[in-house]
Each structure stands twice: as C-alpha cells, then as structure tokens.
C-alpha cells in the first residue's frame, strides 16, 4: 500500500517536473511584432518568441481574444510597449491568462518604455479626455526611432539574463550585435532623407513623431487631431488649409488608418499620401526591424523628392 503511494507520488512529481525539463527555452511573448523581432535577435536559440498583435493591426485596438490569453498562459516573460499603448486589451488578457509569472510587478513582465530617456508629446498642464482618449502618458510609438529599438534590445537582454542566468553572456552578446547592426545602418538611412530635413509634413495619427523627430522632418499637424477620436469634417478642412498654406510636402498614414479621409486631404492639399507600415512586417517588403526602416526611408525619400503617390 505505502509502496503504491510512493510510486504514485514519484510519478506525479515526474509529471510536474516534465514541462520544466522539456522546455529549457525561455518562453517570451511580445505584444508587438517589433518587440517580438527584437526579442528574437537578442534571445536567439535560447528563447521561443510569440507575438500578440499582428503587424497589420492597429495596436491601440487589438480585440482581446481568449486565444491570445492562451499564448500568455505559458509565458516566462511578457514584453510590452507601455505608455498605455496596450491599455485597452493587455490587462484583460493578463487577467484571463492566470499566469502568476507575468502578473503586474513581477520579473516576468517588462514595460519596454522603461528604456527611454525622453518621451515625446508628454501632455503638459491640465490633462483630460477632451484631448482624445489615447496617449495620456505621452506618445507611445517610440519603436519607430531605430535608436530606441537599440535601447529596448539592451533592456530586454538585461531582463532575459536575470530570468535565465546561464545564457546571460549570450543575451548580452546578441544585443550588442543588434546595436552594431542598427548603428551601422543609421547614417545610410539619415543620408537618404537628408533632402527632406525640416520639410513640413502632415500625419494621420500621431504615430510617426519619433520617426520624424529622428529624421528632422517637421510635423505641422495631424488629421486625427485628438488621438483615438475620428476627425471632424471641420478639423479636416482646417488641416487642409494649413497644409496648403505651409506647403506640406506629403501626408503619412498607416495601413490601418482611415485612408478615405487621408486620400481626400491629400487631393485637396495637392500633397502625396504615403502609406507606411506602422510596424515590422505590416507591409510586404518591411520584414524585420531593419527592413522596416529600409522600407520607410526609401518610401519617404521617393515621396519627398519626386512626389510619387503610393496607393
């Protein structure tokens, strides 16, 4: 009798420890494709990465499907953008996942915005929702500056090393390699856009502030003037007038924006509309984080110089 109990207990212990043995890889879940791609570069063979928000979807409004919570159930590390970009769906998914490893405040969750030294568009003075219902902590789209991607990679490497000490050296090495590969390309991208420096442009959503700030291109306004609120016809008219008077060079929109309004503004302003991938892999040819900037810089340089419309 007691031997049976012993055998059963031993079997149960074996079953309980099996997942630990079979999955030596760190399971990483990233909210955004950019973060997922960076995590793969830093983690290499030591990690297994999955992504919640597909690249073609506006990350502000991802439906919190339970199948996404299922991805989080087994995660050892959750990487998220932060600055409330994912506020509409991530807390609900974390709650539905019931995984203590990634609960708020634990070592298994990392807000990548922590890597930033400077956040753009931080509201000053009085803050309320009359200014829109997203971006209350500042502009969250910082991954569109490749230099921020590097900072995030170094932060991710640090956290991965904490969770998986054995591979710490490799995480550090890979993050350094990533940094070197981005830094090698920076001058190339910047040179491509040197002619557009200080050019006035209009954006659809304030998605491109970090990108344009990095490239010294000047944003004079956004069609969606209050983040998350559909633009009113009156504001659209105002922005068209502004674009005309300031000689706006082009309008930038993401694939998921309201392109009907963007096209109308583009025609009235007589400025080309450039539709860009809002995330790694959002358009064909923008694969990989470096590929994303190759694509964006090429499109912007074409749109800025010879006014090619990309539709």
């Amino acid at each position: 009798m007691s031997r049976n109990i012993l055998v059963i207990t031993a079997l149960m212990l074996l079953v309980l420890t099996l997942p630990g043995i079979s999955t030596a890889k760190l399971k990483v879940v990233a909210t955004l494709n950019d973060l997922g791609w960076i995590a793969e570069q830093v983690g290499g063979d030591d990690v297994e990465v999955s992504v919640l928000c597909p690249p073609h979807q506006d990350p502000h409004y991802l439906p919190a499907k339970p199948s996404l919570a299922k991805k989080l159930k087994k995660a050892d590390l959750l990487l998220y953008n932060g600055l409330e970009l994912e506020i509409g769906w991530l807390p609900l998914l974390i709650e539905t996942a019931r995984n203590p490893k990634i609960k708020p405040g634990s070592r298994g969750e990392l807000e990548c915005a922590d890597a930033l030294e400077h956040i753009l568009d931080v509201p000053t003075g009085h803050v309320d929702r009359s200014k829109g219902d997203i971006h209350p902590l500042g502009n969250p789209h910082f991954l569109l500056d490749p230099r921020n991607g590097v900072k995030v990679a170094l932060l991710i490497a640090e956290r991965m090393s904490e969770l998986d000490i054995d591979a710490a050296e490799r995480y550090k090495q890979r993050a350094d390699m990533f940094q070197a590969s981005v830094e090698k390309r920076l001058p190339e991208w910047e040179a491509l856009l040197s002619a557009s420096r200080n050019c006035p442009v209009i954006v659809y959503h304030q998605h491109w502030e970090y990108l344009l700030n990095w490239l010294d291109i000047q944003t004079i306004g956004s069609i969606e003037h209050r983040p998350g609120i559909s633009p009113s016809p009156r504001h659209t008219k105002d922005i068209i007038n502004l674009g005309r008077s300031q000689k706006c060079v082009y309008i930038i929109a993401a694939t998921w924006d309201n392109l009907k309004i963007a096209k109308k503004a583009s025609e009235r302003m007589d400025a080309p509309l450039i539709i860009l991938p809002g995330a790694t892999g959002a358009m064909e040819g923008a694969e990989g984080y470096l590929g994303l900037f190759d694509y964006i810089c090429k499109e912007l340089s074409r749109g800025g110089v010879d006014g090619v419309r990309n539709e």
Binding site: P63, K65, P66, S67, I229, S230, N258
Partner: protein
C-alpha cells in the same frame, strides 16, 4: 559621547523625514493608495404605446454605476460596484451593491478564486454591466429566469482546462435566499459554467458556453419539487476586421435558458438571438428577437404569465469609448393576454475615470 548624540539626532531626523515622504503629505493623508475609480451614467427617454391602455412617456436615469478597483494587499485584489437605480414606480432611488468581491493574487497558475458578492456566471448576458447591454433592456428570457442582474454572495473557483482551445470551468456556491430561489431558505445554491473559445479565422471566433444553476425552490414551486435547477446554452460568433482601426465588426449571439421540466402543461423556457454590426467607424446597428414562455406564479421574476415575444432594433453612435447614444424600437407581444406594446427609446451614457475593459 558628543559625536554619538549628534549622529543619533541626524539619524532620527532622517527617519522622521523618511516617514513624511512615505505618507506623501505632512498631514499623513495620501491619495497614492486610492482605488481606480469610474462612474457611468445611463439615461433613457421613452415613449410607450400600448394596444389596450394609455400611452406612457418619460425621461429617467436608468442607472448610475460607480466602480472601484484596487489591489488590497499582497494577497487580494478588490472590485466594488455600486449601482443607483430609480425604485420601481417611485420617485426615489435605490442603491445596490452589484459587486464587492476580492480575487486571490497568489493562486497556482491556471486558477482563480473569488470571494464576496459578484455577478453569477450564467450564460453571456447575466454578467454584463447595464451600460454594456447590446439593447436597452435585458432579454425577457434572461429577466424572467435570472432576474435583473444576478449578483449574489459566495465563492467562485475557475480553472483553465488543458485542452487545445481556450476553455474555462467555473464552479461556485452562493447564498440560496436570492430572488430567483426561495428567499426564506438558508440553503446554498450552486452552479457551474463552462466557457470555450475557438478561433475560426484570425478575425473570427466562436464562443460556446454551458451553464447550470441549482438551488432551493421557491415556495410555490416547492409543492412540485424542493430544488430548482436552470440550465443554459450560449453561442456567440464574433468577427472584427483587423485591417482597419474601427473597421467593420459583426457579433451574432444567442442563448437558450430552460429551468426544470415540470410536466407537459408547463414547459418553461426562453431564448434570444441578436446581431450587431459596426457599419461605419462609430456606428452600430442591432437587431434581436427573443421569447419567454413561463408561469409567473412559479417564477417570481417572470414578466407575465404565458408567452412573450420580443423584437428590437437599434442604432448606436459611440463617438469614443466613453460615450454613446442609442435609438431603439422594441415590440413586446404577449400571446396570452393579447397585450402588446411598442417602445421608442433614446438612451445615452457616459463613463468617466478609469473603467476596466469589458471581457471579449
């Protein structure tokens, strides 16, 4: 000695300033631990046309909901909802505790534990906050068998099942002296709910649920059976375009509710089905049809004796996630009394503060 006293004074000073920092203000009053708070106001203006009595009209506060949520300590997270409603047929308002519960923070992976007063997980509609209803009023089937918001005190344990799709099983025990059971009884009512989600394509999902609730039968019912059980099935299809923000979206949902089968003459049951479609950024259109067939003598919440058929259609404009305007036409047709009424309703609602996201 002099140096020792000096360093002690410095140390005390440091400790004292540190104490002030921690409390936030010199008075020791701090906002830093306040719960997240949100308030929702829901109003309606209604015109009701009866086929055999005078018309009704009015404008009223349908519900004001206050929601507080915060971590309590390293062990619990709390959720409290107060709702203020106008009292039936009176000019006064009543306040009720819709939810006052704590969730354990340190449970093994895959489990959750809730204690307190909470919305009983029966089907899809019973758990919705009033401002998240797809139509202005709950379906007659839900209202007749489950009451207006089935919120009870007890314990709820949920486990994620290890199957290839997303599956949750919830079991709970609640007080039996609720409106739908025998409100004199001290016995417990208990139930279970199974929730399953399947992704059909990336953009579409199907949810299939089954519910069971059993408790001490009310007195009228008692002559027939000492226990009353209710079973329910629900199925929801959702499709949301992922290519565009605020692009087209479609929900089709239906629920079937059936209490104990009694005898041939009395086969109580109810169902509803609805569809909602977002046809333009902030605009939704909805249609629903539903039926309840039950005996008001046995079911205290039953809207009336016999069979009621409902048909409703609405148009909703939600300019942001925090406000919405809705226009609805509803036709209720009572088969037994040949009484029907037509309601035209305008509803508006707003949310301020930080309201936790509603479940998918």
């Amino acid at each position: 000695m002099y140096r020792f006293t000096f360093s002690m004074i410095i140390l005390l000073l440091l400790l004292a300033t540190d104490g002030y920092c921690a409390s936030g203000t010199a008075s020791g009053v701090s906002n830093s631990m306040n719960p997240a708070l949100s308030i929702n106001g829901l109003f309606k203006s209604q015109y009701i046309q009866h086929n055999n009595s005078a018309d009704d009209y009015g404008i009223e506060l349908q519900e004001a909901e206050m929601h507080f949520t915060s971590v309590v300590d390293p062990f619990w997270k709390a959720n409290v909802i107060f709702a203020v409603h106008p009292e039936e047929g009176q000019a006064e308002y009543g306040i009720c505790v819709e939810e006052a519960s704590i969730d354990a923070l340190n449970v093994p992976a895959g489990f959750s534990l809730k204690l307190g007063k909470f919305f009983v997980p029966f089907g899809k509609h019973a758990k919705l906050h009033t401002h998240a209803f797809p139509f202005i009023k709950a379906p007659v089937a839900v209202e007749s068998f489950l009451g207006e918001g089935l919120s009870e005190t007890g314990v709820e344990l949920t486990a994620s099942l290890p199957v290839p799709w997303y599956s949750d099983l919830t079991v709970y025990g609640i007080n039996g002296n609720t409106a739908i059971f025998d409100n004199e009884n001290k016995e417990l009512a208990y139930g279970a709910h199974s929730k399953n989600f399947f992704d059909i394509t990336y953009n579409s999902t199907i949810e299939i649920g089954g519910s069971l609730l059993s408790g001490p039968a009310s007195e009228d019912y008692y002559g027939l059976k000492s226990n009353m059980s209710i079973i329910g099935f629900d199925m929801t299809y959702k499709w949301i375009s992922s290519k565009r923000s605020h692009g087209p979206a479609l929900t089709i949902s239906s629920e079937f509710i059936m209490p104990d089968f009694l005898d041939d003459d009395r086969t109580p049951m109810g169902w509803y089905a609805f569809t909602q479609y977002r046809f333009h950024h902030n605009w939704w259109i909805g249609y629903t049809s539903g039926l309840v067939d039950c005996d008001s003598e046995i079911y205290p919440n039953a809207i009336s004796q016999g069979e009621i058929l409902e048909n409703k259609m609405n148009l909703t404009f939600a300019p942001s996630e925090f406000s919405a305007l809705r226009a609805e036409v509803a036709l209720y047709d009572n088969q037994a009394s040949e009484e029907d009424h037509l309601c035209f309703t305008l509803q508006w609602n707003f949310t301020i503060g930080s309201h936790p996201a509603h479940s998918y």
